[in-house]
Amino acid sequence: MENLIALLVAAPLLGAAVLLCGGRALDRAGHWLGTLLAAASFVVAVVLFADMLGKGAEERTLSQHLFSWLPVEGFQADVAFQLDQLSMTFVLLISGVGTLIHVYSIGYMEHDERRRRFFGYLNLFLAAMLLLVLADNYLLLYVGWEGVGLASYLLIGFWQHKPSAATAAKKAFLVNRVGDMGLSIAIMLMFTTFGTFAFGPVLEATGETSEGKLTAIGLMLLLAACGKSAQVPLQSWLGDAMEGPTPVSALIHAATMVTAGVYLIVRSGAIFNGAPEAQLVVTIVGAVTLLFGAIVGCAKDDIKKALAGSTMSQIGYMILAAGLGPIGYVFAIMHLVTHGFFKAGLFLGAGSVMHGMNDEVDMRKYGGLRKYMPVTFVTFGLGYLAIIGFPGLSGFFSKDKIIEAAFAKGGTEGWILGSVALLGAAITAYYMTRVMLLTFFGEKRWQPDAEGHAPHPHESPKTMTIPMIVLAFGSVFAGGFFGIGDRFLHWLEPVTGHKHGHSPLSAATVTGATVGVLLIGVALAYLQYGRGPVPVTAPRGSLLTRAARRDLLQDDFNHVVLVRGGEHLTRSLVYVDHTLVDGVVNGTAATMGGLSGRLRKLQNGYARSYAVSMFGGAAVLIAATLLMRAV
C-alpha cells in the first residue's frame, strides 16, 4: 500500500511537466489533463485513507523510501515519504479541494488564452504542497515549502501584464523569503543539535535537548510559519496576493498553502512542547494576527481583500491553537480543515460574483445580487454561516473548541487569549455580515465598467457552481461530523497527542458566550449596512477605518522601518565604505606612495651613493661582528 504514496505527488508533478513543456498542442485538452491528474491524486488519497481506516490506530503510519538524495557521511538526506493521520488529513484536503478548484478553474479561466499554463502551475502547486505534507524529513519538507512558494509566486503574477499583479507576486516572494530563511536556519540548527533532520529522530530527541536550543529552533520555525501563513509581522503579502486569479486565492491563499505554517508547528509539536517560551510567542502571534486580520477585513471594500483579511484572522486562530500545545493541536487542524472548506467556498463564491459582474471587486458596487445568482448566494451564505460559527455548522464546532482551549490554557494568559478569541469571533461575525449584506442584499449599486458595459449579473456555469455546492456541503457538515463524538480528536490523537485542559469556564458558558458575541457582531453589521442605503463611494471613516483600509499601515510600517531603515543602513555603510574601508585602502596607498617617494631619493642613480650604502652596510656588519665577539 505504501508504494502508492509516491503516486500522490507524481500524478500532479507529471501533469505540471506535461502541461508546462507540452506546448500549444495541449491548449485544447490541457485543462482536462490537469484536472484528471489532480483527481487521480485524490482517488489515490481516498484509497489510502480507506486502507488506513481499516487498521488499528497504532499501525496507521506508512512510510516509503524512494532514494537517497544526498548520501554524505554524517549527512543523510533521503527522499522518503511518511503518511500518518496528520499527513492524511492534509492530503485529503489538498487533493480534494485542489480537484474541486481545478474543476472550477475550467469555467473561470475559460476565456484566458494561457489556461494550459495556469493548469500547469496549479498542478505544480499540488505536487509541491503534497510533497510538503508527505515528507518524512525537514529537508524534503523544505523542498516542498519552496515549491509552493514558487507556485504561489507564479500564480499571483499569472496576469503579469498588470503591474499590480507583478508587484504583488514579487512582494509575496520577498516576504516569503524572510520566512524561508527562518526555516532554513531552523533546519541547520536541527542538524547541529540532533545530527539529523528526519521527523522521527528529531522529535524523539527533543526530550534530551536543552530548552534554549529548542526555543531557538521553535522561534525560527515560527518565523517560517509567519512567512508562509501571513502572520504578523510577515503578513503584508497576503492582501496583495489577491491580484492573482480567484481560484488561486481560494486554493493557495485560503485553503492550503497558507496553512502550511500551522502544519509545520503542529508537526514540530514535540519541539514546541519543550519550549514554553516559544509557545507563548506563537500564541501571541496568533492572537495579534487574529485581531489584525479581522480589523483589516472590516474596512476593505474589495471583496477578495476582505476575505483575505478574514483568512489571516482565521489562520491566527489556528496558530493560536497550535501555540497552546497539546490542548490545541487537534483543534488547530480541525479548524484548518473546516476553514479549508468554507473559505475556499467563499472565495469561489466571490469569484463567481466577479465573473458575473465584469470582474468588479468593489462590494459597494454590488448589491441585491441574491436574485440573479441564486446558487452562488446559497453556497456563499452557507460558507458565511460556517465562518461566523453559526451553531451547527462547521465553523461553530472548530472555533468554539479553540476558544475553549484558549481559556483552558489557564492563568492570566488563558483569560487574555480567550477574550481575544471571543472578540475575534465578534468581529468575524461583523465583517462577514457586512460582506454578505453589501453583496447580496440592499439595492443595486451596479456601475458600468471602464469600457461602459453595464453589468449583467448571471449565474456561473456548471463547472463553477458544482465545486461551490460540494464545498458548501463540507462547510455545513464537516464540523459536525468531526466534532460530535470527538471523531477528529480520536483520529489525530495518536500523532499529535492531546491533553484536556481545565477551563475556568464550563463548555456551555463558552459556547453561550460565543453565540452571544456572534449575535452582537451580526446585529452591529445589520444596523450599519442592512437598514439604510450604502454609499457607492466609501465615506472617509474614522481614523481606525482609514488605517484599516491601508491594512493597518503595514506597508507604511515596512516602508519606514525596512525600506527607510535599509536606505539609511545602506547610506551609512556606503559612508563607512568611503571613509573607513576606502580610507584604509587609500591611506595604505598614500602611505606607501609617501614612503616610496622618500625611499626613491635613496635611489638617485649615482654609483657613488650606492657605494656609500655598501660601505655603510659593511661597517655595520663589522661592528656587529665585533660586538658579538666582545659579548
Binding site: 651613493s609 656609500v612 660601505f615 661597517a619
Partner: protein, 279 residues
C-alpha cells in the same frame, strides 16, 4: 718582559716606519685630494714605493721588488697613459654635487678606520715569530715552493684570469668598423657639395703672433678662428685664446702710428677696408 722584547723591532726600523709611514699617509691623502688626475697618480706612486720599502722591511723581499716593478712601474704607468688619453690638464672640480655625499663618505671612512682600529686593538697578536726561519732558504725559494705546491691551482687560475683580462680589455676597447672608410675622392666631393671649407683647414698660428698648436689663428680683423686648432684640442676645450691681447696690441700700434703720422682718418678707412676684405 722577555716576550715584549720579542714584540719589538729594531730602532732603525721604528725610525724608518714613523718617517715613511707619515709620508705614505700624506701621499694617500694627496691622492684623494689633488684636483688633477696626474698629481693623484704621482702621489699614489710615491705611496706605493714607500709600501714597497715596508715590504722589504717586513722580510717580503720578492713582494717588495714586485711592488716596484709591477705596481709602480707597470700599473701606475698604465694609469698615466689613460690619464693622458682622457685629458692631462683637465682639473676635476672637488665641489660636491650629491647632497650629503661628502659627509656620509667622511663618516663612513672615519667609522671604518675606528672599527678597524678597534678590531686590531682587540685582536690577540701575542705571537711574533719573525720570518727568520721561513726565509732561511731564501724568500723567493720559499714563495716558489708554496706557489708551486700548496697554491698551484690558485696560481694556474690567476694565469687564466690574466689572459681573460687581456682579451677582455681588447674586446672592450676595440671598435668594429661598421661601414667602408671613405676614400679621399669621396671626401673631397662631399666637401665640394657642402660648400664649406673647400681648401684645407688653415694652420694654427698663420696670422697669429704665436705658432703653438693650441692657439687659434687670427682672421684679418683680429678675431680668432677655431678652425685652425686641432679637433681633439677643440673638443677638450684646450684652446688658448690670445685674440683680445692681440687686438689690444694692434689697436695700440695703430694708435701710435696715427699719433706719429697725424692722420686722423686712417682708422675709419682701415676698418672699412677690413670689412671689405672679410666679405
Amino acid at each position: 718582559m722577555t716576550q715584549l722584547a720579542a714584540y719589538t723591532t729594531s730602532t732603525g726600523e721604528a725610525f724608518q716606519f714613523w718617517i715613511l709611514g707619515t709620508v705614505a699617509v700624506i701621499g694617500a691623502l694627496c691622492t684623494i685630494l689633488m684636483k688633477k688626475a696626474v698629481h693623484s697618480a704621482l702621489c699614489l706612486a710615491g705611496t706605493m714605493i714607500i709600501l714597497a720599502v715596508f715590504y722589504l722591511a717586513n722580510g717580503a723581499y720578492f713582494l717588495g721588488v714586485v711592488q716596484i716593478v709591477v705596481y709602480t712601474g707597470a700599473i701606475m704607468m698604465l694609469f698615466l697613459f689613460v690619464v693622458m688619453l682622457v685629458g692631462v690638464t683637465a682639473a676635476d672640480s672637488l665641489k660636491e654635487t650629491i647632497k650629503g655625499q661628502r659627509w656620509l663618505a667622511l663618516l663612513c671612512g672615519l667609522g671604518f678606520a675606528v672599527l678597524l682600529f678597534a678590531g686590531i686593538g682587540n685582536a690577540s697578536v701575542k705571537e711574533f715569530n719573525g720570518l727568520g726561519k721561513a726565509n732561511a732558504g731564501g724568500n723567493v725559494e720559499g714563495l716558489a715552493e708554496l706557489i708551486f705546491t700548496k697554491y698551484v691551482f690558485a696560481f694556474e687560475i690567476t694565469g687564466a684570469l690574466l689572459i681573460t683580462a687581456t682579451v677582455g680589455a681588447m674586446v672592450l676597447t676595440h671598435r668594429e668598423r661598421t661601414e667602408r672608410a671613405k676614400t679621399q675622392r669621396e671626401r673631397s666631393e662631399e666637401r665640394v657639395r657642402e660648400g664649406k671649407h673647400l681648401p684645407p683647414l688653415p694652420a694654427p698660428g698663420v696670422y697669429a703672433r704665436h705658432n703653438a698648436v693650441d692657439i687659434a689663428g687670427l682672421l684679418p680683423d683680429g678675431t680668432p678662428s677655431e678652425l685652425t686648432v686641432n679637433k681633439t684640442l677643440r673638443e677638450r676645450g684646450q684652446i688658448r685664446d690670445v685674440s683680445s691681447e692681440a687686438l689690444d696690441d694692434l689697436r695700440a700700434l695703430e694708435q701710435r702710428s696715427t699719433d706719429r703720422l697725424e692722420r686722423p682718418d686712417l682708422r675709419a678707412t682701415d676698418s672699412g677696408r677690413t670689412e671689405e676684405a672679410s666679405k
